[in-house]
């Protein structure tokens, strides 16, 4: 099992750092899955996470100049690691003006992801900073726990409003209540509502647009039969929603959510080279 990768381009390093920073805001520990072409950051919906789950996918070619991965075995050419993304974030933080950044799987006192940063210096030899980030190697028998979640059978799918706006609205609502109701319909309308004993506040978004989903057999999605005015709603933990919105450092190319009434909200944020899916279950 081997993994070595190298980033040389400053813009790629910057971009990769921003992705890691976003992941670090969403999960304290998560699973990093390495394949020949992609990296995945995965959070499964365990009780410890409050039922949220995350699936983030990057194409390695968009970030790394060199990428060599040899999995556990030939027919299972993948590596699954458990890591604390905050550590990776910290390692990359002071590396932004580096000449090169190498990431390698090593075995120091325990399996580690070693990040070696070569920094420019006034002398002839560069400065080298190495960060050994302890990781857990996840054995093959547990890999089934980390499969890609399927898109749920949603009632409404809608594009999200500008995330910055949504974030400032939710931030203020957080002071008033722990739960927020997210509802939307097929007419491009979305409401964010909180309700307490003393006050209820609703923010209305209009003209958002609904993404056209086509199911695999080519037939129209069953949601076409739905009354366009009818709202699908889910009551979710406001802090989880805020975590997702606050973690975004760059505006995604596409941002949408799929609502399964009273069950779950599935967020999809797409950037050019990164896709992030985040599931927040509805509260009872």
């Amino acid at each position: 099992m081997r993994f070595r990768a190298k980033i040389v381009d400053v813009a790629c390093l910057n971009h990769f750092t921003r992705v890691i920073n976003t992941i670090a805001k969403l999960a304290k520990t998560c699973t990093l899955r390495l394949t020949v072409d992609k990296l995945y950051f995965i959070l499964t919906d365990k009780v410890a996470n409050g039922g949220v789950s995350m699936w983030c996918e990057l194409s390695q070619g968009n970030f790394f100049d060199e990428f060599q991965m040899e999995g556990v075995a030939a027919e299972h050419n993948e590596i699954y690691l458990e890591l604390t993304p905050e550590n990776l974030s910290r390692a990359l933080k002071t590396a932004q003006n580096a000449k090169t950044v190498k990431i390698k799987l090593t075995n120091k006192h325990c399996p580690c992801l070693t990040v070696a940063v070569e920094l420019p210096s006034l002398s002839s030899s560069s400065r080298i900073v190495t960060h050994d980030i302890p990781v857990g190697v996840i054995p093959r028998r547990l890999w089934n726990d980390f499969r890609e979640p399927s898109v749920p059978d949603f009632d409404v799918s809608i594009y999200l409003p500008v995330l910055k706006t949504m974030k400032s609205v939710v931030e203020r609502m957080k002071n008033l209540s722990n739960c927020i109701v997210l509802e939307a319909n097929l007419n491009g309308e979305m409401n964010l509502k909180i309700e307490t004993d003393l006050v209820s506040v609703t923010t209305h978004f209009k003209g958002l647009g609904n993404p056209p989903w086509v199911s695999e057999d080519g037939s129209q999605n069953s949601t076409q039969d739905r009354d366009p005015e009818s709202m699908a709603e889910a009551r979710i933990d406001i802090r989880k929603l805020l975590q997702l919105l606050a973690g975004q450092q760059v505006n995604p190319t596409k941002a949408l959510c799929n609502i399964v009434s009273k069950r779950i909200v599935h967020f999809i944020l797409l950037h050019e080279e990164v896709s992030l899916q985040y599931f927040i279950p509805a509260l009872a």
């Binding site: 120091k108 325990c110 399996p111 070693t114 080298i128 900073v129 960060h131 050994d132 093959r140």
Partner: protein, 394 residues
């Protein structure tokens, strides 16, 4: 005593006070014929700093006459109070034209008067306590190793460590490599903590004198305090150090100002005098430095054998092989410590409740409580010296 500071030196004084405040809660003020000295020490007596401003630093410097016993006057003030006068460095720079510090032993106040723009004068009356001499015993000439570097290099080195990191280990080798690594104390679990190491080459330093490979671990927070002063003063910083356990001495000097920071370093229970039992892993314990340098592209980190072992045990059932662990640290206080300091340490651990018990920091040797006239000879390291403890201490 009267001292008048003008112009850019006011900011220098302010920065010095900020640096002093990172060390201790009390500021010891002593006007001498060599200049005004400001000192601080921390509660566990593991850090001491002294800023000596030469008379030429001041536009006016009056030491004040010694009292009838021939003693120079010394006092200490609450650091918090003194710092509040110099709290905002930007406004100090913009608004304050002169700073007058005056002390009349018979009066009950140390007066710091800031003469600002637009005719504004701010007068601070601080209460003080008379105190004994605060002087750590150290001699940088006795240190085997010395590094000199512009402060910028060192600031850039420590930036890679988290702000909350308590201790850092500085290592040098005769081959010319200098490294900084975060120190993991006994309570931290090595398999959960990130280890960061920065390697600098000899060329980045203005002077490197290293006799043998060695490493010392000291408190980063206190060092950062000095670094931020050094950076603004543009002076090179000298680091004198020796073997683990002996204090590390950091100095800055120019004709107008001399700064010393003395930090105790962790003594190493795994000192070479002990015979080590065979260990399983390639990488030695945190105390010693790995012989592999980062340039050699991670040799010796064979994850495949770990994986093979892990995969086979998975199939069999319970229990992964435990990762190669650090060898058990067996403190042998008797073997590792020198005699006088072991007494010192046990005294202090009992006497000072603030001292963290687990850490084996050697405390600094302090001047005895004898008055200056009686302490004729400079107390040598072998003397059983007592920590300074003024009568006012509660």
């Amino acid at each position: 005593m009267r001292c008048l500071v003008t112009g850019g030196n006011v900011k220098v004084l302010g920065k010095a006070v900020h640096s002093l405040s990172r060390i201790g809660d009390e500021l010891y003020v002593e006007p001498t014929e060599d200049g005004l000295s400001l000192r601080a020490v921390n509660s566990s007596r593991s850090a001491y700093t002294c800023f000596l401003f030469a008379p030429l630093f001041f536009q006016l410097y009056e030491e004040g006459s010694p009292d009838p016993d021939g003693e120079t006057f010394r006092c200490k003030v609450l650091m918090k109070s003194f710092l509040s006068v110099f709290r905002s460095l930007p406004s100090l720079e913009k608004m304050v034209e002169k700073c007058l510090i005056s002390l009349n032993p018979r009066a009950s106040r140390l007066v710091v008067q800031l003469h600002c723009k637009y005719g504004v004068t701010k007068t601070h009356n601080l209460s003080f306590q008379e105190c004994e001499l605060l002087q750590a015993v150290f001699d940088k000439e006795l240190c085997a190793n010395m590094l000199r570097a512009p402060a910028r290099v060192l600031v850039d080195a420590v930036i890679h460590f988290p702000v909350t990191l308590a201790e850092v280990t500085l290592g040098v080798s005769p081959a010319g490599k200098v490294s900084f690594r975060n120190y993991l104390d006994e309570e931290t679990e090595p398999s959960r903590t990130m280890v960061t190491e920065l390697c600098l080459s000899e060329d980045e330093f203005q002077d490197v004198q290293v006799q043998q490979q060695s490493h010392v671990t000291f408190c980063l927070k206190e060092f950062r305090g000095l670094l931020s002063f050094a950076e603004s003063s543009n002076l090179p910083l000298n680091i004198h150090f020796d073997s683990p356990g002996r204090p590390a001495i950091f100095t800055l000097s120019d004709p107008l100002l001399e700064v010393h920071l003395v930090l105790a370093t962790l003594s190493d229970p795994n000192s070479s005098s002990q015979v080590r039992s065979t260990t399983l892993q390639a990488r030695p314990a945190n105390g010693a430095f790995p012989t592999a340098t980062p340039d050699d592209d991670f040799m010796g980190d064979d994850i495949d054998s770990y994986m093979i072992a892990m995969e086979t045990t998975c199939e069999e059932g319970p229990g992964l092989p435990s990762s190669p662990t650090f060898p058990q640290r067996c403190p042998h206080p008797g073997a590792a410590l020198e005699s006088e300091s072991s007494t010192m340490e046990s005294d202090l651990e009992g006497a000072v409740p603030g001292t963290p018990p687990q850490k084996k920091f050697r405390s600094l040797f302090f001047g005895s409580v004898l008055t200056q006239s009686q302490a004729g000879t400079h107390p040598g390291p072998s003397q059983d010296v007592l920590a300074e403890d003024s009568e006012g201490e509660s």
